[in-house]
Structures are given as C-alpha cells and as structure tokens.
Amino acid sequence: MNFAVLQFPASNCDQDAVHVLKNVLGHSARLLWHKENSLGDVDGVLIPGGFSYGDYLRTGAIARFSPIMKAVQLFAENGGMVLGICNGFQILCEAGLLPGALVRNRSLQFCCERVHLKVATTRSGFTRAIPENKLLQIPIAHGDGCYFADESTLGELQKNDQILFQYATPQGMLTDAANPNGSLLNIAGICNKNRNVAGMMPHPERASEGWLGGTDGRLIFESWLQELTGRNKPSAT
C-alpha cells in the first residue's frame, strides 16, 4: 500500500508515522508537504501529530486551509481512508471532515501518559482487526484533547456507532477518573458517518513496537491495511 503522511510546519510525529508504516509494517509511505496540491497515487492519508502553525488561533485552525487539505477533502469525499492522530484529529475536526471539536484539557495541563482505551466498535476500517473486548494501551500527549460536540451531534455519533475509542480504567470502565482531559463520553477517537475518516488523540505510532513498551497501536494500522486490501483504490487527486 502507498501512504501519504502530511507534513505541516511544526508537525512532529510525521517521521514516526512514516517509520511505522514503512519499517514496521513494510508498506510504502512518504512525507507530503502541506503546500502540495495533489496527493498523487495513494491508498491512504495519515495526518500526524504535532503543533501545526504553533497551534495559533486554535489547534488545527490554520493547517486546515493548507493547499493539500483540498485534495484530502476530495479524497475523503471519494471514499479514501484518512486517519488523523492527535493534531491530525484536531485538523480533521476544524476541516469539518469529522464532527465536533477538541478544546483545552480540563486540567489545563499537558497530558503525557499511557492510557487504556475501550474499543467502542470494531465495525470500522480502523478497528476491524482488534479482538473483541480487547482493551488497548496507547500513549497520549496533548494539551487540547478534550472532545466537545453538542448534544445532538453526540446522539448521532452514538446512533451511528461512530465512537471508536473511549478512555477507560484498566478494567475497561468508562469513569471520570479514567478521563484524562474531560472529553464528553470519554471520547478518544471517532470516525465520520461514512466510516472512511477517523481521528484519535492517542498515538498508535508510539505503541507499535515491543521495545517502545507496547504493540497495541499496530492493531489500528493493521485494521487499516486489512480494510484497504479488500477495497478498490479511490480516485486520488
């Protein structure tokens, strides 16, 4: 598979994402500068973590207007699979490709820790390879990860089974204490209604090799690869 990993000024998880896709999973991945207008020949797009444009104004607010995002929008509209991690999730929300928004952590502190994630649904191209009831351990590192959406949007997310990951206790309970940032419904990751665009605050690329302390993050990339293997390539632009 061919992946494009977008690179904005102050992206800082871009190389890690390329490393995992290429060296750990054995696929082709290349960095794509945000000023590009075209994605080229790609099967999937990854928007990595970081602090694009210094988080000026709001996280992801300026990056979402970078030229490459027009191509991403079109790619997603044609069914192409897009995953946003951390700042990538914030950018996808700002771009309107995912519902809701990510605001300052409830504690006002930057949260950098390993969290437990309940997989709310395996009915998505980003979670399908995860064994039923498996709790994932993946690190987070963010200052603005508190997921917010109005009540009707939250209702839609639940009704359409769009919630992918929720912060949980080591026993898998969705408690307030297990919620590191104040996200509504303990939401750590969601997908769009068409299930081809997903965003998550935790960093699966930092949990894809045993020597880094865990491999649960790989299950997300493996789900993505499984899903892509079974479908036709969307028309890239």
Binding site: L57, R58, A61, I62, F65, C93, E94, G100, A101, V103, R104, N105, R106, S107, L108, C146, F148, A149, D150, G182
Partner: protein, 78 residues
C-alpha cells in the same frame, strides 16, 4: 478602518481557564463573581466599503477566526 472582534467560548463548552481565573480572583478577595469566561480579542485593520468589509469580516469569523462548534463571535467596525 478597524474591525474589533471578540471570540468567546459557548456556554456549553468547558472553560477551565475561566474557572481558574475566577478562583484566583476570589482568592484575591473579589466577591460576587458569578462566572468568568476567557475568550480572544482580535483587531483587523482593513480598507474598503463598510458594508462589504462587514460581510468579509463576518465570513472570516465564521470560517477561520472562530469555530462555531465551540465559540461565539461578535465584532464592531470603527
């Protein structure tokens, strides 16, 4: 002319900064504070027909300067 824009968090959105500032003010001895909301203030210096400028600023507020999911905005032209 100058557009003076205020962006503030919507009521339903958690505003931990506002809460923290409120408790600091109370700690300093200020009483009767019911709520504090921390937002943003922007000034844009711009030339053009006032009505067109008004439309442009309104559009810019909706598209970039505020996020309607979490924020409200208002502005004046001077």
């Amino acid at each position: 002319m100058k557009a003076k824009i205020t962006v503030s968090p919507k009521k339903a959105v958690l505003d931990p900064q506002g809460k923290t500032v409120q408790s600091a003010l109370e700690h300093m001895g200020y009483t009767g504070i019911r709520a504090v909301h921390v937002g943003k203030y922007l000034e844009i210096e711009i030339e053009g027909d006032k009505e067109i400028v008004r439309q442009q600023i309104d559009e810019a507020c909706r598209k970039l300067l505020s996020n309607p999911v979490i924020e409200d905005y208002q502005f004046t032209l001077e």
